[in-house]
């Protein structure tokens, strides 16, 4: 029992890197948290795939939704968009992501944009698990 608790304690040792920095890096640069934690292959896959999804979503004339508290679903979509990090900030600053609702690919564009953000949120959770010694 004592040995087991010792093992448990040692696997949950104090994180070597500050968690808030892992979150910030993981949010700003998709896969950035993994790269910083030394999971290079995973980090590169996320760094390529998630911004690519985001760019495809913009190319398909998807929309970066605004925060509209009166419309909860739109607000949730906005949160998912923001989760993409730097790609979102750049696109928003440059005026991309206006969206064209009559475009045939509008819904596909939204699906790509929202999913890219949600997947990045999962990637940040994974980076948290790695940084805190759970993985």
């Amino acid at each position: 029992m004592a040995a087991r608790s010792t093992v448990k304690r040692s696997t949950r040792a104090a994180p070597a890197k500050p968690l808030w920095l892992v979150y910030l890096l993981g949010w700003l640069v998709p896969g950035g948290g993994h790269l910083w934690l030394g999971r290079t292959t995973k980090g590169i896959v996320f760094l390529v795939a998630l911004p690519a999804m985001f760019v495809i979503g913009l190319a398909l004339e998807g929309r970066l939704f605004p925060f509209a508290p009166s419309e909860p679903l739109v607000a949730l979509a906005a949160v998912a968009d923001v989760a993409s990090g730097l790609p979102y900030l750049i696109a928003n600053t440059l005026g991309f992501g206006v969206g064209r609702a009559v475009a045939l690919t509008y819904d596909y564009g939204n699906a790509f944009l929202i999913t890219a953000g949600l997947l990045n949120a999962l990637v940040i959770v994974d980076a948290h698990d790695i940084a805190s010694g759970r993985k």
Partner: protein, 59 residues
């Protein structure tokens, strides 16, 4: 963008989700490929089956 094939767009979407999901869930390349393949197959098969169900029973 000029791509207007629903099936192609769905396949590209499923491919990206499978890639990220597989790499996220597993640690070895073999396990990642297997998990990614399962996610890709599940998404594609699920969408095609749902498409045929909606064809018979439209909303």
């Amino acid at each position: 963008m000029s791509i207007q094939s629903h099936l192609l767009l769905m396949a590209v979407f499923a491919l990206f989700v499978a890639l990220v999901g597989g790499v996220l869930l597993k640690d070895t390349a073999r396990q990642q490929a297997r998990a990614g393949g399962e996610i890709l197959g599940g998404l594609m098969a699920g969408a095609i089956i749902l498409g045929w169900v909606l064809y018979v029973f439209p909303l």
